[in-house]
């Protein structure tokens, strides 16, 4: 399994670069949103020989017009050609309500938006000319209707997309929405899922407390235990990104990478 870090800022890029140079990681996952305005040559220079993967946050494929998506896709296609990523990943979520940007993302309604989600996923893959791996959602509230594992299974069959399985997102959804972790195993094994995320989450100081996918603390024992179960059947050429967006330092990230690597080997 290849282990990577995520690049969301200049400082995380520097630490990620160091971890790669020291042999602790094998690649870097780039948050595409942060680099679309940059000169491609400067990105290529910064990356050097380090393999990369793409992660997109704000494509908002469910909400944007096809013309807007085409314009975004054109930029990403250029980056794809220049950087040859291991995979392209994206998010399925609700970013706006009644045309107004939400401060926190909300979960899509997998039942009522089923047709639209399938159409847009197909369209986005066609526009990018690539299979796209969509990240599972860290549910905040209990839901009724189709479960998230069943939704992703159906989506992959219907559109040919993949899942970027975020292990800690599943744990967060288990805490907040009581979504059973065991329900994911069948889906992940049947689809031979090979791209993973894992990150720290924290609990809010609200009543009741919610698990928040914060990427600013160390991995939980629950995430590590669930990762260990998944690693028993993950394909050998799988990837795993340890995401960290805040409270980043050389020492904390290196220590977490070593914890994760010990689990894998």
């Amino acid at each position: 399994m290849k282990v990577g870090t995520n690049w969301t800022s200049a400082s995380s890029m520097e630490i990620g670069r160091t971890l790669f140079d020291q042999g602790h990681t094998h690649f870097c996952e780039i948050l595409i949103d942060n680099i679309v305005s940059m000169e491609i040559e400067s990105i290529v220079d910064a990356i050097g020989e380090m393999p990369v993967a793409f992660h997109i946050m704000q494509s908002r494929i469910i909400e944007r017009s096809p013309a807007e998506l085409e314009a975004l896709a054109e930029i990403i296609r250029h980056l794809d050609a220049a950087l040859n990523p291991i995979y392209i990943s994206d998010h399925l979520a609700c970013f706006t309500h009644a045309g107004r940007n939400l401060p926190l993302l909300a979960e899509l309604d997998y039942d009522s938006q089923h047709v639209l989600i399938h159409e847009r996923v197909k369209m986005w893959q066609d526009l990018l000319g690539s299979k796209v791996y969509f990240e599972n959602y860290p549910s905040s509230l209990p839901r009724s209707g189709i479960s998230q594992p069943a939704f992703f299974s159906d989506l992959m069959h219907g559109t040919g997309c993949g899942i970027l399985f975020d292990i800690s997102n599943a744990v967060v959804a288990n805490v907040n929405a009581s979504d059973p972790l065991a329900d994911w195993h069948t889906v992940l094994q049947a689809s031979a899922t090979a791209h993973f995320h894992i990150a720290g989450y924290r609990y809010s100081n609200t009543e009741p407390a919610l698990a928040i996918d914060s990427h600013d603390v160390d991995l939980s024992q629950e995430s590590l235990a669930f990762a260990q179960e998944i690693l028993t059947y993950a394909p050998p050429d799988s990837t795993m990104v340890l995401e960290r967006d805040a409270n980043i330092s050389d020492t904390t990230w290196t220590a977490e990478i070593k914890r994760l690597t010990a689990l894998i080997h």
């Binding site: 942060n34 975004l72 309500h97 939400l102 926190l104 609200t206 009741p208 928040i212």
Partner: protein, 180 residues
């Protein structure tokens, strides 16, 4: 989902409930969106920020403001029209708010796709416009803002903006109304 964006709606949710907790977290997120980029205003407002933020969010709801990069400009306009709180928006705060709007634009990659920088001009600070660049290389750690000489505009409402598609240039700008 109005409760994500309005304290008035959030307070109508049952307490305690997971939905209420989520609304509180969402409103905290909005607080950070506004005040993390405006430390001068934050200091002037003090700890009781709800006295201006909550009514502004009700106004934003009524106006269906998109809450995109122009949010600080709408907040500034609303603040200046507020008889009790308008004094908070001195020239330093006005400049801070224009810079904050520029930095949010620079971060919103899909706003004015292809734009390299944004100039924002506001009637509350008639002597200057504020230009902000998007990052051009991975080595840049911050968005860079510059003061631009008075563009000499008229009849543009409270604020206006223009996009440059060149790395450094601010010439021959086409000024537009700020988005809702």
């Amino acid at each position: 989902m109005e409760y994500y964006l309005s304290a008035t709606y959030a307070k109508q949710l049952p307490q305690p409930s997971a939905q209420r907790s989520l609304a509180i977290l969402s409103l905290r997120g909005l607080w950070h969106t506004i005040f993390d980029l405006t430390p001068l205003l934050q200091e002037k407002v003090g700890e009781d920020s709800g006295r201006i933020l909550d009514p502004f969010l009700d106004y934003a709801e009524a106006q269906s403001l998109s809450m995109n990069w122009a949010l600080h400009l709408h907040f500034l306009e609303w603040l200046l029209q507020n008889p009790e709180e308008g004094h908070l928006a001195d020239q330093d705060v006005v400049q801070e708010m224009l810079t904050a709007a520029g930095r949010r634009w620079a971060k919103e990659w899909s706003a004015d796709l292809g734009g390299k920088g944004i100039a924002i001009y506001c009637s509350a600070m008639p002597t200057l416009a504020i230009g902000t660049y998007r990052k051009h290389t991975p080595a840049e750690t911050h968005f860079r803002s510059v003061a631009l000489s008075r563009p000499g505009l008229s009849n543009f409402g409270f604020a206006t903006y223009a996009i440059t598609t060149q790395g450094q240039g601010w010439r021959k700008l086409s000024w537009r109304p700020i988005p809702n």
